[in-house]
Structures are given as C-alpha cells and as structure tokens.
C-alpha cells in the first residue's frame, strides 16, 4: 500500500509538472565499486548519460550521447553514522570538451527503526575548458525501505527514494534544480546490489521549465 502510494505520487508529480515545458528521456547505466580499509572507504563510480527522446522543438525518438562521468571518492568514517568524503570527477562530454570536478561531501546515515535515512550535503566545483567554473551546493535526503521483512537481508528487494536540491553559481548566473528519484533494488549474497529506477530532474532556471527523466540501472559492488 505504502509502495503503491509513493509510485502514484511520483509519476503524478512528473506528469503534472511536464505540462508546457521541455522534457527529455534517457538511460543511465551505472557501476559503483567500493573498497573498505578500516575506517577509510574508496568509491569508484562510472555513469553514462544516453538521451533517447525529447519533446523540445522537434519531438522525436533519437539517440544522442550526453556525457560519461567517472568519480573517485575517499571517504572517512567519523563514527557509525557520519562520513566525510573528498572526490574527483572526470566528465567526458559529447562535445569533446571534458571537465574536471572537485567534490566535498558530508553524509549522515542512520537507522532509527526499520528504515534507513541518509542526509548528504555536497559542495562541488566544475572546471570547463572554455567557460567559467561552476560552483554548486547540494542537499539530498534519502530513504531506504525494506520490501521483505523489517531489514534488508541477502536475496531481498528494497526501495530507495530520494530528493535533492541543487543550487549552482556560474559567472554571476544562478541555477536551481530538483532531483527526485525512486529505485527498486535487490541485495545479492555477495553484498552487491542491482538497482533500477527513475531519476526525475527539474531545472527551475530555464524558461520554459526543463524536465529530465533518466531511467537508471545501477550495479553496486562492495569489494570488501
């Protein structure tokens, strides 16, 4: 019941918001590898954005490569709930003008009952070859819900939903974006996870509003 309600709410909000605006639909395959060494964790992530449909100007199903991001994080566990991380991202853009990004992150993950909550605060700085650097502030609230039993155990399904607000500043311009996501995941016995879901992004700074729907398929592996 709880699950059905969330799904309906999620898709309704997308349909309502998509009126009189530009929207894009794409697919993002993602791989995420983690390696833990005592209180230090290394996280390597690669995700590739492939665009398949747009209603802007000339509505069409048309394949277009957007970008591929490769991220490396080093995270330090401060206590069982708090993690501080520094990261670097190399962005491979469609126009061949690749980008560099530095990332600073604070995460607070806690489990008061059966649900796991995550707060994430990020600041990042993106450096381009031919334009001014972009500075962003991001806050994300995530919720992980077991779909079988009271905790997520091996060979069980779970759901992750999150909402993130982004503020960006670039060359005196300001941008605001919201990212609402909903995934269904499966935890394998080797602690790896497979997640499929939708990442719905709204760019409030453009006129008309721009809605991006990214269907994400992620494979998350814990090497230790």
């Amino acid at each position: 019941m709880r699950l059905r309600f969330l799904f309906i709410l999620f898709f309704l909000s997308g349909i309502i918001m998509a009126q009189d605006s530009e929207s894009y639909l794409g697919v993002v395959p993602e791989i995420n590898l983690s390696y833990k060494l005592k209180t230090i964790k290394f996280n390597l992530k690669a995700e590739s954005f492939q665009l398949f449909h747009t209603n802007a100007d000339n509505p069409a199903w048309d394949y277009q490569y957007e970008q591929t991001d490769i991220q490396l994080f080093v995270s330090k566990k401060i206590n069982p709930f708090i993690f501080l991380a520094l990261g670097y991202q190399y962005g491979i853009e469609a126009n061949d003008k690749n980008t560099h990004r530095s990332i600073q992150q604070f995460s607070y993950v806690f489990k008061p009952g059966n649900l796991k909550w995550g707060h994430r605060v990020r600041t990042d700085q993106t450096f381009y070859q031919s334009k001014a650097a972009k500075f962003r502030f991001r806050y994300r609230l995530s919720l992980k819900i077991p779909l079988q039993g009271q905790s997520i155990d091996y060979n069980e399904f779970y759901m992750v939903t999150s909402d993130e607000f982004l503020y960006a500043y670039q060359n005196k311009d300001q941008e605001y974006e919201n990212r609402l996501a909903l995934y269904i995941g499966y935890l394998f016995e080797n602690s790896s996870k497979l997640q499929l879901g939708i990442d719905y992004r709204t760019d409030f700074s453009s006129e008309p509003l721009v809605h991006n729907y990214w269907i994400r398929l992620g494979y998350l592996v814990n090497l230790q």
């Binding site: 994080f73 039993g149 155990d153």
Partner: protein
C-alpha cells in the same frame, strides 16, 4: 620445531581468546515468515499466553551462525520480541523500555559501566530480557509472577573508546554486570552515502 609449537600454541590460543572476547560481532539476518511456517510449539505458546490476537509478525533469524524464530507483537501498550529455537522451544522474551522507565539502581550501575568504558556514548535501544521456562515466562506475562525468571538488560548503543567508535550490543545482568558484548555490523549503505 616441537619447542616452537609448544611456545607458539599458548600464545596463539591466548591471542584468539582475546580476539573472541573483544571482537564478537553481531551480523543479523531476518526473513519474514508466515505463522504456518513456524514450529507448532511456538505458535501454541504465543496464543496460550496472549490469546488469539492478530498483528503478530513472525521472523526467521540468523545471528552469529545461530538460527531462531522470533515473534514481534504489541500487547497492553508493550512491545515484545519473543525468541524460540528452531524446534519451537522458547528462549527469551524481550520487552522494549525507555531509559527513564528503568529502576534507579540499574541506571546507576549501567551509567558507571558506560562512563568508565567509553569516552562518549549514546543509548539507542533498551530491552529487558526475561529468561525462564515456558511456564514461568507465561506466568510472568499473564500474572506478573516473577518466580523462576531471570532478568537481563540488552542495550544497543553507540560507544567511542580511544581506539574504536562503533555500534555495540551489550547484555547486562539484573545488577548491571556485563555478560556479553557484540559489535554491531551494519550492511554498507553506499547508495545513501554517495
């Protein structure tokens, strides 16, 4: 060679014993099961004690290699977790408590333990554990009859020492003496952290 083994073995066994004492880990897995999948003896005890109530949730648990069945239910505004072995024999009854609801003697003794062993600590969950025979436990819940019942305290907390900063689960006797200590191992949450 023989001499080496004679010297090494006691050291090795001492080392392993220390590891065992200090680093017991709790990795719990639980799976929701239907009541019909639970041993009949466990079903009978629950309904014989609490009556034909609805809303009982049954779980099959594996914790540190040991399997058991657990019933979770709410009765008279109290939250109970009742554990049975795989044959359906009752092992213990746990009841959730708040710190303020504990008697002052046990609070004093527990505070003494936490303050002398941790630089910083925060209690997350307190459960009173009642151990006894099936009949004694039934009498305790139905009539508050305490004969034959041993009371322990199971406390989940976040504790920081000079070397560790972890989540722990400790079992204390009725007078606050430490009986068992386990480090709680949480499953990685990379999808929430990154």
């Amino acid at each position: 060679m023989k001499y080496q083994i004679q010297v090494v073995l006691p050291f090795l066994s001492f080392f392993l014993a220390v590891i065992n004492l200090n680093a017991q880990e709790k990795v719990e897995e639980e799976y929701r099961v239907k009541e019909s999948e639970v041993p009949v003896q466990a079903q009978k005890w629950i309904h014989g004690t609490f009556g034909e109530m609805k809303g009982i949730k049954w779980y099959y648990e594996k914790s540190s290699g040991k399997a058991s069945y657990e019933a979770k239910l709410k009765s008279d505004r109290k939250v109970y977790s009742i554990e049975f072995d795989t044959m359906g024999v009752i092992e213990d009854v746990e009841q959730k408590y708040e710190w303020n609801e504990l008697e002052s003697d046990i609070k004093t003794n527990l505070t003494k333990y936490f303050r002398s062993n941790y630089i910083k600590y925060k209690i997350i969950k307190i459960q009173k554990q009642y151990v006894g025979t099936a009949t004694d436990l039934k009498n305790y819940i139905r009539q508050n009859e305490k004969e034959g019942i041993t009371v322990n305290y199971e406390i989940e907390f976040h504790g920081k020492t000079q070397t560790e900063n972890e989540l722990w689960e400790c079992l204390f006797s009725s007078n606050g003496e430490l009986l068992q200590k386990k480090k709680i191992i949480l499953k990685p949450a990379n999808n929430l952290e990154f």
